[in-house]
């Protein structure tokens, strides 16, 4: 029998084809994260959280008997790169995409996943993300539309604030939050007397903090990414402002406390997810994470971790590893900790991809997050 070139090519093609089908034996997901640039903290933590969940699930036999296979790629905190990576993930025919975590990146990259009908989980929080009617996006944390009213209520009712100075970072995340909090405060009769925009990666907060001080507002609301939040807190302490400092999630996060040191004490924030929450599953997660990564996980780690488990629960509900089935299962999905401990807290999704669950009011005391109050899910209050 003569072996000619054509047969060889055919054999190679056959081999490739079988390799292709073998790849289908795993649950292939793509993760697009901010592993460098201004979002490095966000992306790195989300990734570590995902990896921990994936290791656990794979060790326990995978999802419906199939192992998860993940590729992480770096968006460099750049929307252009994120869009390209999303396109690449689509070409690789993945089951689901996780990230990016920066709202600006997510808003452009989710068009790619939407076109290919690939479910896209994200930690990004801008209100606009689920407001566009994209049926393939699912949050892993509260959107600003859920969290801002909660924190606005705290400023108006608990702190009795009449005026607020808002320091925000000038990107999609910051602007979205500022719009939302201004609206929520307005509804409660609280006036925003200083509206202070700052650049991403800003180093010197002397001027913005001074502006906030001069406005003589009752409360200073800080809504930036981690590094800037730490610098703002230091400057606020330096200028000796005794007004309450309030934020949303980032302001009291582990990284900010680490970077700001003493200046973080006294800051209060509404936090959707906190490892210090009085929830046993959360404690267990923290212990596992610290064992593997040697540092205290932040909310981004929890987002990544629970995001993977939510996907698992949805796939198991669907009963098959299939994109359309996953998207269908996500609509109105409710996952209880009793059934799937990996989600850490009971969570339910609506039709838009927004989620609802309990949340916390956290204050930094002696360099540690301390939960002041547990706020029930919005849905349970009948609100």
């Amino acid at each position: 029998m003569t072996v000619n070139r054509r047969t060889l090519i055919a054999c190679a093609a056959l081999l490739l084809a079988t390799a292709g089908t073998q790849a289908q034996q795993t649950v292939k997901i793509a993760s697009l994260q901010e592993l460098s640039g201004t979002g490095a903290t966000v992306g790195t933590n989300f990734k570590n959280g995902m990896d921990l969940a994936i290791r656990e699930i794979n060790a326990a036999g995978g999802i419906l008997g199939k192992k998860i296979e993940v590729t992480h790629s770096d968006t460099q905190s750049n929307p252009g790169v994120a869009k390209g990576l999303a396109q690449k993930a689509v070409d690789e025919d993945v089951l689901a995409v996780f990230g990016p975590g920066f709202s600006g990146s997510m808003i452009v990259s989710m068009n790619e996943t939407r076109r290919a009908q690939i479910p896209n989980f994200t930690g990004a929080e801008a209100a606009a993300i689920t407001a566009q009617g994209n049926p393939y996006v699912y949050r892993t944390s509260f959107g600003q539309a859920t969290s801002m009213p909660k924190i606005a209520r705290y400023m108006a009712n608990n702190l009795k604030a009449k005026t607020v100075a808002v320091i925000y970072v000038n990107n999609d995340f910051g602007k979205g939050g500022r719009d939302m909090v201004t609206k929520s405060l307005g509804e409660l009769g609280v006036k925003v007397v200083a509206d202070i925009s700052t650049d991403p990666g800003k180093l010197d907060f002397a001027a913005p903090v001074l502006q906030a001080k001069q406005s003589n507002a009752d409360v200073i609301f800080v809504y930036t990414n981690e590094e800037e939040a730490a610098r703002a807190l230091r400057e606020i302490r330096k200028q000796g402002i005794a007004k309450p400092i309030v934020g949303e999630t980032v302001l009291t996060s582990q990284k900010v406390i680490e970077l700001a040191g003493e200046a973080a004490n006294g800051a209060v924030a509404h936090v959707g997810l906190s490892v210090d929450a009085p929830v046993p599953a959360m404690r267990a997660f923290r212990a596992k994470f610290e064992r593997d990564y040697k540092y205290i996980p932040d909310h981004n780690c929890i987002k990544g971790y629970t995001g993977v488990y939510v996907m698992k629960a949805a796939l198991e509900k669907a009963g098959k590893i299939d994109r359309a089935a996953l998207a269908k299962a996500m609509k109105g999905l409710t996952v209880n900790v009793a059934k799937e401990p990996g989600v850490l807290m009971d969570v339910s999704y609506d039709d838009k991809g927004d989620l609802d669950r309990a949340s916390f009011l956290v204050e930094v005391k002696n360099g540690k997050q301390e939960v002041k109050e547990v706020l029930p899910p919005l849905g349970k209050k009948g609100a």
Binding site: S197, D204, Q214, E227, L259
Partner: protein, 291 residues
């Protein structure tokens, strides 16, 4: 008025740090005609070295001393022998490109080793608050400013008052005559590189508590320092101090009174005005091209 003084002082402290890096620019330029676009990374690298020594349990100042030794060897001698010496005879462009490349390499090397996240850095002067006539300062602000001014003036004095310093200046002014006068030119040039490395270490020690140790912290610093050097005058060491303070203060004032969005544009506008109307810099001397 108080607010104005507050902004002025905090801007001066930031400016003093720009001045340290700018001084390195002008020194290297004067002594060897090298423009080092990796200057920012020369500040970032010692910051991480100190952080590493700190993690090993060494106190900050001991770590700083060790870092200085390593920096003189690597960023001084190594940089001169490895990059400046072989490339300088081909003119300016190769060295500009080489230092740009070096900066990218150092940045990503550190990123690979220390992750892209920001790390907190201990402050030499502590975080104590000091209130003077209604203005609040941190001990770090005052300490940074004092240390930077001392370093700039000290370098200046060293260059103009000591024999070695004068020899270095002679080399900078006219290499051929200096050789004829029996000055060891290569050694003098090495001293300049060593001083540049030491200044970078000092800048790292002063700046990192506020900038936070991060792989790309040098990027912004180098740009500002370069502007400061041009504004002050590339061939005058005191000009670097003036240029640094001008950039630091005007940035802060612009952020407060115009808009934070235009903060970075201010340095650029001053830079262009200087280039247009006084290209030798505010304190620089006009140099006729040598034939």
């Amino acid at each position: 008025m108080l607010d104005f003084i507050q902004l002025l002082l905090s801007g001066t402290a930031t400016g003093a740090i720009y001045a340290l890096a700018a001084l390195g620019f002008t020194l290297l330029w004067q002594a060897s005609g090298t423009i080092n676009f990796a200057q920012g990374e020369f500040v970032m690298l010692p910051a991480f070295m100190m952080l590493a020594f700190n993690a090993m349990g060494l106190p900050l100042l001991a770590g700083f001393a060790l870092t200085c030794v390593i920096a003189v060897l690597v960023l001084g001698w190594g940089f001169k022998r490895g990059i400046a010496d072989p490339l300088l005879r081909f003119g300016m462009m190769p060295i500009v490109v080489a230092t740009l490349g070096l900066s990218i390499a150092i940045r990503n090397g550190v990123r690979a080793g220390f992750s892209a996240e920001a790390h907190p850095f201990p402050s030499l002067f502590g975080d104590k608050l000091i209130h003077v006539a209604g203005v609040t300062l941190t001990a770090a602000d005052i300490g940074t400013l004092a240390a930077a001014v001392l370093l700039v003036l000290g370098t200046q004095a060293y260059l103009s008052r000591t024999v070695t310093g004068r020899a270095m200046q002679a080399v900078a002014q006219n290499t051929e005559s200096a050789t004829v006068l029996g000055i060891n030119v290569p050694r003098m040039v090495f001293y300049t590189f060593a001083i540049n490395a030491l200044l970078a270490c000092a800048a790292a020690l002063l700046v990192t508590p506020t900038y936070l140790a991060k792989f790309d912290m040098g990027e912004g610093l180098a740009t500002k320092a370069f502007f400061a050097a041009i504004i002050g005058g590339f061939n005058n060491s005191r000009g670097a101090l003036l240029g640094g303070v001008i950039v630091g203060v005007s940035e802060n004032l612009a952020a407060a009174y115009v808009s934070p969005a235009y903060k970075d544009a201010v340095a650029l506008v001053i830079f262009m005005l200087v280039i247009l109307f006084k290209p030798q810099g505010l304190m620089g001397q006009r140099v006729e091209r040598k034939v």
